[in-house]
């Protein structure tokens, strides 16, 4: 996750606003952005698509032993969320424990800090999910 300014900047539309792709040929949705449709290849016509940020839990786990940079947050819930438009994304589910979750629990996107590069580096922000009430 630790990355240079240029990569961080390129990921902003994905991470901040859930911008992905839609293929006008086969009507399939993709997240994150894809330059080429894997099904239609050259026949595909990809356009930008903004996902609503609603979905449901497809699978989840609790991270007890976190990677570097996430020590303070552990234990935290990591889930695969199926967006209402189709694609599945992996993200943290905040303000809950795994006891609050089940398969199919409806969730919505929230904007949170993902990681800080120490006390002097960049702060990376992006989407996570919380249980939709």
């Amino acid at each position: 996750m630790k990355s240079g300014s240029a990569l961080t900047w390129r990921l902003i539309p994905n991470r901040y606003r859930l911008i992905g792709s839609h293929c006008e040929t086969c009507k399939e949705n993709f997240f994150p952005t894809r330059p080429v449709c894997p099904s239609c290849r050259r026949k595909g016509k990809m356009v930008e698509k903004k996902f609503k940020g609603e979905g449901k839990i497809y699978s989840f786990t609790t991270v007890q032993v976190p990677p570097e940079g996430f020590e303070l947050e552990a234990p935290y819930v990591l889930a695969i969320v199926e967006l209402s438009e189709g694609p599945r994304v992996t993200a943290q589910v905040v303000d809950c424990s795994e006891n609050d979750l089940g398969f199919g629990t409806p969730v919505e996107m929230v904007f949170r800090k993902i990681q800080e590069e120490g006390k002097e580096g960049l702060i990376h922000y992006g989407f996570k999910f919380k249980i939709k009430k």
């Binding site: 904007f111 949170r112 800090k113």
Partner: protein, 372 residues
């Protein structure tokens, strides 16, 4: 003295009757709040420092306060409040011509929070944006900036946010109050407003009641000096100035919102000015979420707008240490009935959605340990 004067042809009619329609130039097109889910009780903090919980609760008028999650800061709270305001307003983010974020806990010393907010809500890139700082009143200063830009037709809509994750030194009195939250207001023309801003008036002096130098982690304050010459002098001066300017009296208002550093000051100032307690309580949220600094007056106003009916008149006065106050006269329109149906999360719903922390977990959340 900052005096924005808006030509209101129907002002006099408005004073005599609650049955009015449209009046001035600018108003609130949408608004939203955000309060973190975590809380700590004043009693829990008191027990750590050997203080009497009841004495703290009664003395400060604070029962519990909000605590941000580890991945929340002034930027993320501002984004969530702004997204709520956008849904409430029903406008496209691309129509927002200015974003002002008022905070004393901007995540970066150099790198505007307003850019993060503008990008996250989809308002970028064709707009102006800036961060504002004026202790707890930077958010209402942002509303005034937007009012001027909308009234002069420089922009169609402006977004003003007050957002903070404030810190108090452990065992300091501020530790019981300093909390986290945000309020966001979209300012636009009166015709599409859910509440019209009839007028505003400000009062500003150089008063050293509360400050923080760049290298200091926690703020310093003048103890008792924060009361009379600071909060009370500025709030009453701005409020009296606006009452006089608009030819109104406390009895003309249905609600009043004051900056709320604790549960006590706003009650005292309401009494001093002659506003009844019943008009104050709907917008007094500090007793249950603490002092959200730049968010405080904004969230208080949002709580009032969550329940106010068309025709209601609201008197608002913020306060920022240093020191200054911005006062507003706000009139609720018929438009609020429809927009309320969108079901945007209300201040009350944010307040009720809570999870308590122990002092140990609170220390972790606020990274008060040296190694965090």
């Amino acid at each position: 003295m900052l005096v924005a004067s808006f030509e209101c042809s129907e002002t006099s009619k408005l004073q005599n009757s609650k049955l009015f329609k449209v009046f001035c130039l600018v108003g609130i097109v949408g608004f939203g709040a955000c309060v973190p889910k975590y809380r700590i009780k004043a009693g829990e903090i008191a027990s750590v420092w050997g203080e009497d919980a009841r004495r703290i609760e009664d003395g400060l008028g604070i029962l519990e306060k909000s605590v941000p999650a580890l991945d929340e800061d002034a930027a993320t709270l501002a984004v969530e409040a702004s997204r709520n305001a956008l849904v409430y307003s029903g406008i496209s983010a691309k129509e927002i011509g200015a974003v002002f974020v008022g905070s004393e806990s901007h995540p970066y010393a150099v790198k505007p929070t307003a850019t993060i907010v503008a990008e996250a809500i989809g308002a970028a890139p064709n707009l102006t944006a800036a961060d504002l700082e004026f202790a707890c009143k930077a958010g209402t200063a942002g509303i005034q900036c937007c009012m001027g830009m909308v009234a002069s037709k420089m922009i169609k809509y402006g977004l003003a946010i007050g957002s903070d994750t404030s810190q108090g030194k452990p065992s300091d009195a501020l530790e019981y109050s300093a909390s986290a939250g945000a309020g966001a207001f979209i300012i636009g023309s009166d015709k599409e407003s859910v509440a019209v801003i009839e007028d505003t008036f400000s009062f500003t002096t150089d008063t050293p009641d509360f400050w923080r130098r760049p290298e200091a982690e926690f703020p310093s304050h003048g103890g008792r000096f924060t009361g009379k010459p600071a909060y009370f002098k500025h709030v009453t001066s701005a409020a009296k100035g606006l009452l006089e300017k608009t030819g109104t009296a406390p009895k003309d208002f249905d609600y009043v919102v004051f900056h709320q550093p604790n549960g006590k000051f706003p009650r005292m100032v309401a009494k001093m000015l002659g506003f009844e307690e019943a008009k104050l309580s709907p917008g007094l949220v500090t007793p249950v979420i603490g002092n959200t600094y730049s968010g405080a007056t904004m969230i208080g106003l949002a709580a009032v707008l969550d329940e106010a009916q068309p025709g209601a008149r609201i008197f608002v006065t913020s306060f920022g240490s240093g020191a200054g106050s911005d006062a507003f006269v706000i009139n609720v329109t018929d438009g609020i009935v429809e927009k309320r149906k969108k079901g945007v999360k209300t201040v009350k719903e944010y307040i009720e959605d809570k999870h308590y922390l122990s002092y140990a977990l609170y220390v972790k959340h606020r990274r008060k340990l040296k190694s965090l």
